[in-house]
């Protein structure tokens, strides 16, 4: 596929004629990035529009002192999509960092000043471009708002202690009951882990329930019926089942 054929497919250039696409193409430079390479960093001057030719780019927020990770991704951009709208919005700084998220990622960089020169010469081209970008930003706004509103509000971690002593006391059956309850609850924000003996062999099976923002609770001498009760009353209902907790 020629460069122009691809440009025709790109959402922000939709409606431009052949001559206009040609002038866009003249300001472009192709580059390739490998997995994990950073294309630009949050806070840098935004002076380029980035068109993904092949592969995927993740837009992520960076956390101080931590390496980048897929869980920091706010948006993923794939072939024929663009990033770098910040070039047209004051203060003209990239709002997020961009990383190559595929083994190889091919990009066409288009200089913002080159585009602005094109628009000065041909305002109709500028009108079409700005209308397209505003429409896409508006659509992404709706998508982001929707995804943000369905994000789970809390995280729960449940650890079943499955050392030899725990298994002998029935930890597998407890785990099975727990997984069944989670499945029926349709909750997406619960993580189940297993761990070894915690030195409470006489009180096994034990489980630890950690809900973000609350003190962890350890339950002792669990069995499937108690597990189901703890799940319904504590995990879903927020009421710690004091009678079953381990108090040293």
């Amino acid at each position: 596929m020629s460069g122009l054929d691809l440009l025709k497919r790109v959402e922000i250039f939709k409606g431009l004629n052949q001559d206009q696409l040609n002038s866009v193409r003249k300001g472009g430079q192709e580059k390739e990035y490998l997995y994990g390479n950073r294309l630009f960093a949050e806070g840098e001057d935004a002076d380029l529009i980035w068109l993904v030719l092949d592969g995927q780019v993740d837009l992520r927020f960076d956390l101080p002192g931590r390496p980048t990770s897929e869980e920091n991704t706010v948006f993923s951009i794939t072939a024929a999509q663009t990033l770098g709208w910040s070039s047209f919005v004051p203060p003209f700084k990239y709002a997020l960092s961009a990383y190559s998220a595929t083994k190889s990622c091919k990009i066409l960089q288009i200089n913002k000043d080159h585009l602005l020169e094109c628009f000065e010469k041909d305002p109709r081209m500028g009108l079409i471009f700005m209308t397209n970008v505003a429409a896409i930003a508006s659509m992404h706004f709706d998508q982001l708002q929707e995804s943000a509103s369905v994000s789970p509000p809390a995280k729960v971690k449940i650890t079943v202690h499955m050392g030899t002593c725990g298994i002998a006391a029935g930890a597998r059956e407890v785990m099975s009951a727990l997984v069944g309850e989670i499945s029926r609850s349709d909750r997406q924000d619960i993580e189940v882990l297993s761990s070894g003996c915690i030195g409470q062999c006489k009180n096994e099976p034990t489980i630890a329930v950690e809900i973000a923002g609350e003190e962890p609770v350890i339950y002792q001498k669990m069995h499937p019926a108690k597990m189901r009760q703890v799940f319904k009353k504590h995990i879903l209902g927020g009421e710690v089942q004091e009678d079953y907790t381990l108090n040293d």
């Binding site: 047209f88 500028g126 009108l127 505003a134 508006s138 995280k155």
Partner: protein, 160 residues
């Protein structure tokens, strides 16, 4: 009569020359509202692009009974401030409701169809106005994106 000086101070039109401002002025109508009266409702298909002429306008989340509650107000607009950008950007639906927030208020209404026709007749005018619209939409998007990143970052840092 709306003056060119007034229109020139409206952010959306600040880059237009006098001929272009005159063309915009010819599309303007003025309407009056009283405190609490609804100018438009969220979800409606926009017919007009608006500018506050006198008084104040509240943009707010819609309530099922249509009442404007102060706690649902997102922003209060005063003289010279435009609103109803959704009339120029797909999917062409108002996202917020607008109510008159002062004892009496005057708003300038510009029919969406006439404004788009102006863009067709004078692409430079259209380019200048849509560049301003892009800034508004882009800022709104960045604010939401920042909020999503802040929440996700908070979750990651405080998870365990």
């Amino acid at each position: 009569m709306i003056s060119l000086d007034f229109l020139e101070n409206v952010d959306a039109f600040s880059d237009l020359d006098d001929n272009q401002l005159t063309a915009v002025r010819e599309c303007c109508e003025v309407a009056e509202f009283k405190r609490g009266e609804q100018i438009f409702a969220a979800g409606e298909t926009p017919e007009y692009f608006w500018i506050v002429r006198e008084g104040q306008v509240n943009l707010s989340w819609d309530l099922p009974d249509g009442l404007a509650m102060p706690e649902n107000t997102i922003t209060t607009l005063s003289q010279g401030m435009p609103f109803g950008w959704s009339s120029l950007v797909p999917p062409y639906k108002y996202r917020l409701s607008a109510h008159c927030a002062s004892r009496s208020g005057k708003v300038i209404m510009i029919k969406k169809g006439r404004l788009i026709q102006l863009f067709e007749d004078d692409a430079q005018l259209g380019y200048k106005v849509m560049s301003k619209v892009m800034i508004v939409v882009g800022n709104r998007f960045h604010q939401l994106q920042d909020e999503v990143a802040r929440r996700k970052g908070h979750d990651i840092i405080n998870r365990w």
